[in-house]
């Protein structure tokens, strides 16, 4: 069972019981990405995330299929913030749950790598003295 959500507000780490499926899977791997207060030696004031919602979900479905072609992983999780996110706040929570530890690690890392590669979410960084769309220019 997969859970993919865009979250306009603070991400709660209270995960749905049915995702954890505690009875079945022994191992859960999570990646938590928080907003850094300093980036490239500049003080970060906030990030602003923008998402192309319908395509985010289409891409995540495609990615989940690719992961499952390679790895036997029963459950994937991706919660991603939209809107303004302050330093110290959670921007993304990814998870993979499996009876086998190695596969949970591999699936969670693959999910994060694919998220960064192709899922249509954009981040504008507001720092002291300016703002920039991250990675937009070469």
């Amino acid at each position: 069972m997969d859970i993919f959500r865009l979250e306009p507000h603070i991400i709660s780490k209270e995960l749905p019981e049915e995702w954890l499926r505690k009875d079945a899977h022994g191992g859960h791997v999570f990646f938590e990405g928080t907003v850094r207060g300093i980036n490239n030696n500049r003080r970060v004031l906030q990030l602003e995330f923008e998402a192309y919602e319908s395509m985010v979900f289409a891409e995540l479905m495609r990615i989940s299929k690719i992961i499952r072609e390679k790895i036997d992983v029963p459950s994937l999780l991706l919660l991603h913030r939209t809107g303004v996110v302050k330093p110290g706040e959670l921007a993304v929570l990814a998870g993979a749950s499996s009876p086998h530890r190695a596969e949970a690690f591999q699936a969670c890392e693959m999910l994060m790598n694919e998220l960064k590669r192709s899922v249509p979410i954009w981040k504008k960084e507001f720092f002291e003295g300016g703002e920039v769309w991250v990675s937009a220019h070469p």
Binding site: G33, F49, E50, A51, Y52, S54, M55, A58, E59, H80, A91, V92, M112, L115, K116, R117, S118, V119, P120, I121, W122, K123, K124, W133, V134, S135, A136, H137, P138
Partner: protein
Amino acid sequence: MKIKILAFGISREIVGNREVYLDFEEEISVTQLRIELFRRYPKLSELGELFIAQNCSYTQGYELVSAEDEIALIPPVSGG
């Protein structure tokens, strides 16, 4: 034929709106659409890359665009 184009992130700022409409006399490919977009908004061509999505899928360029398609500009993503 009127094509509706969604724009996100820096491409939204460059075109000045979440949605823009372009009118074409005849059927076009995604690549022809890209050429027209670059002509109208030269700053789009300065981006690290600019993908074009058709109905929530990345395109290669050869795909034909129809008035019913949801077309979107995808500048370099930076989620996570």
